[in-house]
């Protein structure tokens, strides 16, 4: 692997293997994929071990990724702001004991003397280790575990709930950011690199699509995202619903919607506003929901379970953000995008399937 590494004086963060971090932690080896780490090219990931035997996951900031077109000062500023934002947010989540957000263990900086004076210090974050993400876990299972899929939804929604309670929107919820721990029994949300806090603008505040474009809700994809706190919460709940569809259908809601739309209204053709395309998106959504329901039914073999789940997904992924979320919460007007009811539903569905599986041996 060392042969492939860029020169140490250019990318010191790529040369951390075997180094002591000065707080009991030492770097083991570089890992190719960073489960739950933001933007692969902005950081380089390692497994780290503490002298007491604990293992963890480390993200080392790669300043080299800041190079490109435009003012280097602006880029470095943006780059470091993003790091500081994520670091402080993770620390806050830890301090608030958010059980469904990946935990920050340490942060600091390590000196790489071989690098030039300016780049000698490499900032890092040490995070609790995960087994992988839900895709990897799902692929390992010999058969589709419906109870587990509902539990994934429950834990994910709990993570969103914890973040929202702390006035934080995740904005980049996708399968690779839902991490599995304890052999898949627990799930936590990773990668807060694209998050936004209600009180303080984050580094991505001005973006119309703060997270991955593929998974983004339609109002963002069609360019009608104002960036208000409520809009960000609405986007999170959409992403959670999209994840639910993806667990059973294999594909995210945005792709399913685009597939159901006549070509003239798709992202590649539509030149009008989001408000104009909305009736067509609603019609497409109505075609997608039965597909989700059918997929759940296929796996769960239980029509009421499939119906309830599909209804929840339909509410969460409703293309019109003003109509998104649970109708009762919307009626209350104070908490349109609350997810507590969905957490309870997923808990109920998971328990129900688990109980039935125990009785009949079927999922």
């Amino acid at each position: 692997m060392d042969d492939d590494l860029p020169p140490v004086d250019e990318v010191p963060s790529a040369h951390l293997e075997g180094r002591q971090l000065g707080n009991g932690w030492s770097v083991e080896k570089r890992i190719t994929r960073d489960p739950g780490a933001s933007g692969g090219q902005f950081s380089i990931c390692y497994s780290v071990v503490h002298e007491d035997g604990r293992r963890a996951f480390m993200k080392a900031l790669n300043f080299q990724a800041a190079s490109g077109t435009g003012s280097v000062v602006d880029q470095l500023n943006h780059f470091t702001s993003a790091y500081i934002f994520e670091r402080d947010l993770l620390a806050d989540c830890r301090d608030k004991r958010m059980s469904r957000i990946v935990r920050l263990i340490e942060h600091g900086q390590v000196t790489v003397p071989e690098a030039g004076a300016l780049l000698a210090e490499v900032p890092f974050l040490i995070l609790e280790p995960a087994d992988g993400d839900i895709r990897t876990f799902q692929a390992k299972s010999s058969e589709f575990d419906v109870a587990w899929a509902f539990r994934v939804m429950k834990h994910t929604l709990e993570g969103i709930e914890q973040l929202h309670a702390a006035h934080t929107a995740h904005q980049d919820l996708k399968p690779s950011n839902v991490l599995t721990l304890e052999d898949g029994r627990e799930m936590k949300l990773g990668d807060l690199g694209r998050a936004e806090r209600r009180e303080a603008s984050g580094p991505w505040s001005s973006l119309t699509i703060p997270g991955a474009r593929t998974y983004a809700p339609p109002e963002q994809q069609y360019g009608s995202f104002g960036g208000s706190w409520e809009e960000r919460r609405a986007a999170d709940i959409y992403l959670a619903g999209s994840l639910g569809a993806q667990l059973f259908v294999g594909h995210c809601m945005s792709v399913l919607l685009q597939d159901a739309l006549p070509t003239h209204f798709r992202l590649t053709k539509w030149t009008g506003s989001f408000a104009e395309v909305l009736p067509y998106l609603l019609a497409a959504h109505n075609q997608v929901v039965p597909i989700v329901q059918q997929s759940v039914l296929q796996h769960a073999k239980n029509s009421s379970c499939a119906e309830e789940f599909a209804l929840a997904i339909a509410q969460m992924t409703q293309p019109d953000p003003a109509e998104r979320g649970h109708p009762r919460d919307r009626a209350a007007r104070t908490s349109s995008y609350a997810v507590r009811r969905y957490v309870s539903l997923m808990n109920l569905l998971s328990s129900e399937v688990h109980y039935r599986k125990g009785r009949t041996g079927r999922t």
């Binding site: 474009r213 593929t214 053709k269 009008g272 609603l282």
Partner: protein
């Protein structure tokens, strides 16, 4: 007496087709340029991350993730391997294989195809299916409109109206909803509502398709639209695709035609025909029939679903079977309308003497319009001509009551001419020749007294045919001379009818000899 083709008026009244067809025809495309029609730019590392995941873990989930990104971001090339894998191994659901195939061979443009022929039972089944879906998705405005269309095609205008009202409440500015609603209100002879529904929508002043419909609806109310200047400005604005302006230019062009502004008519229709809808083509063709020296460019007949324009052209070119066939397609395209059925039935009965086909066309249109007096008149005429005299007589009684009780585009005198001629026809077919002559004579005289030359000529032709059938004498030169009294567009149809009478006369003379 056969129904005349009433070609005096025509407007670019919006067509009302099912949502999927309207969308496929491009009539619901955005007419604004708020965003670029292109795939989204990927976030930094978005594709690379998924590609790396796929390279490390070849599972249905990772393959599907990459396929998703490829489809949304318009980057098929990055997911070809993953798509092939999904096609070979399958995904979590059947959807995966279908989406993977889209990556491997992006679908071509969808052809709307020809309209389907639906029986009454099929339509009822569709209604049930739509209602069932609406129970689950009551906010689907487009489905409410499609439901209303099926109701309208079944002649159930009250439930159609209720469905449309829901659709308007749900999507008060949507082009498909508003144009469909306006078309429905014009169909139910409520032009005020047809106009109101467009006039109060905030999108109307910005959307050329809605502006066209508003101008037409205002005209149907007998007044001039307040948005004509807005429409004219829009026609001059740059950046709008010519397709979006086609019907607006036609609508304003038709107003200019009414005002006798020939130069403006030419200019506006030249704009309308740059990338026309079939409705604009039909309107332009109508202008050619009413404004001498106005010619159309070649090739307009190939515009999708140009059934109406092609049917008229076929009749003008004496291609009568083709004209009838096209009328069927025109009728299936708008199954609640009457013009298509009347036109096809007229050509079939008059030019071809195929009364059975003429009856089928009229009966198909009567599903949606059971009380329409013109359809009823045509039906009884064809029934009498094909020997179903008793049924024809029953329908004649019904027609007599209907025309008394309803408003129609035809005057009382015109109706009286038609009724007298039909009475004459039935009398002839019953063998009451003198009574038949009396009724026909009365019809012709009444028509002539009121300068209804076309009606008089039509009654004379029918009278002559009946005379020939009972062995009477007919002055063929007089018959041939009245052909010229018909408008050029239907002259070929009438000429063929006279030819048939002449052939019949020759055959009768030969038999006598």
């Amino acid at each position: 007496m056969t129904e005349h083709v009433d070609d005096r008026k025509r407007q670019v009244v919006p067509r009302w087709r099912p949502f999927q067809i309207s969308a496929t025809l491009g009539q619901l495309d955005a007419s604004t340029n708020r965003r670029l029609a292109q795939p989204l730019e990927p976030a930094p590392g978005e594709i690379e991350g998924l590609q790396g995941d796929w390279a490390r873990s070849q599972t249905p989930f990772h393959a599907a993730n990459l396929v998703d990104a490829a489809l949304i971001l318009g980057r098929s090339e990055v997911a070809e391997e993953a798509a092939e894998w999904l096609v070979e191994h399958g995904g979590i659901s059947d959807v995966s294989v279908r989406l993977a195939q889209q990556v491997l061979s992006p679908s071509a443009v969808v052809d709307p195809g020809d309209p389907q022929e639906l029986t009454r039972e099929n339509r009822h089944r569709r209604v049930a299916s739509y209602r069932n879906r609406l129970r689950s998705f009551p906010r689907d405005s487009l489905l409410w409109v499609d439901l209303a269309r099926e109701y309208a095609a079944l002649g159930l205008n009250e439930p159609a109206l209720r469905a449309l009202r829901v659709a308007i409440d749900l999507a008060p500015n949507n082009r498909f909803v508003l144009r469909s609603a306006s078309r429905f209100f014009l169909h139910t002879h409520d032009p005020e509502q047809a106009h109101r529904v467009l006039a109060r929508a905030s999108s109307t002043s910005r959307d050329p398709w809605l502006l066209a419909a508003e101008i037409v609806a205002a005209s149907a109310c007998g007044r001039q639209s307040r948005l004509i200047k807005t429409g004219a400005r829009l026609l001059q604005s740059e950046g709008l695709h010519p397709r979006h302006l086609s019907e607006l230019a036609s609508a304003i062009g038709t107003l200019e035609h009414q005002a006798g502004q020939r130069r403006r008519v030419r200019k506006l229709f030249a704009q309308a025909l740059r990338d026309p809808t079939e409705n604009a083509v039909a309107q332009a063709l109508w202008i050619t029939r009413h404004m001498s020296g106005f010619e159309l460019p070649e090739g307009l007949g190939s515009v999708p679903r140009a059934f109406e324009a092609n049917a008229w052209e076929a009749a003008r070119n004496s291609e009568f079977p083709s004209a009838v066939q096209l009328s069927w397609q025109w009728l299936r395209d708008e199954p609640f309308a009457t013009r298509s059925a009347l036109f096809g039935s007229y050509v079939s009965a008059t030019a071809m003497g195929d009364y059975d086909e003429a009856i089928r066309l009229v009966e198909a249109a009567m599903t949606a319009n059971p009380e329409d007096p013109r359809l009823l008149a045509q039906l009884l005429y064809c029934q009498a001509c094909s020997g179903m005299v008793d049924v024809a007589e029953q329908n004649l009684r019904k027609l007599e009551k209907t025309v008394k009780g309803t408003e129609s585009q035809r005057s009382d005198t015109e109706w009286e001419v038609v009724l007298n001629a039909d009475r004459g026809l039935i009398a002839f077919r019953r063998g009451q020749i003198e009574e038949g002559r009396r009724w026909y004579g009365s019809a012709i005289e009444l028509a002539r007294t009121h300068q209804l030359t076309e009606y008089a000529a039509s009654a004379l032709i029918n009278f002559s045919r009946e005379e020939v059938l009972v062995g009477g004498h007919v002055d063929m030169s007089e018959l041939k001379s009245v052909v010229g009294l018909f408008p050029p567009v239907t002259r070929q149809v009438v000429a063929r009818c006279v030819e048939r009478i002449e052939t019949l006369t020759a055959a009768k003379s030969l038999r006598k000899f």
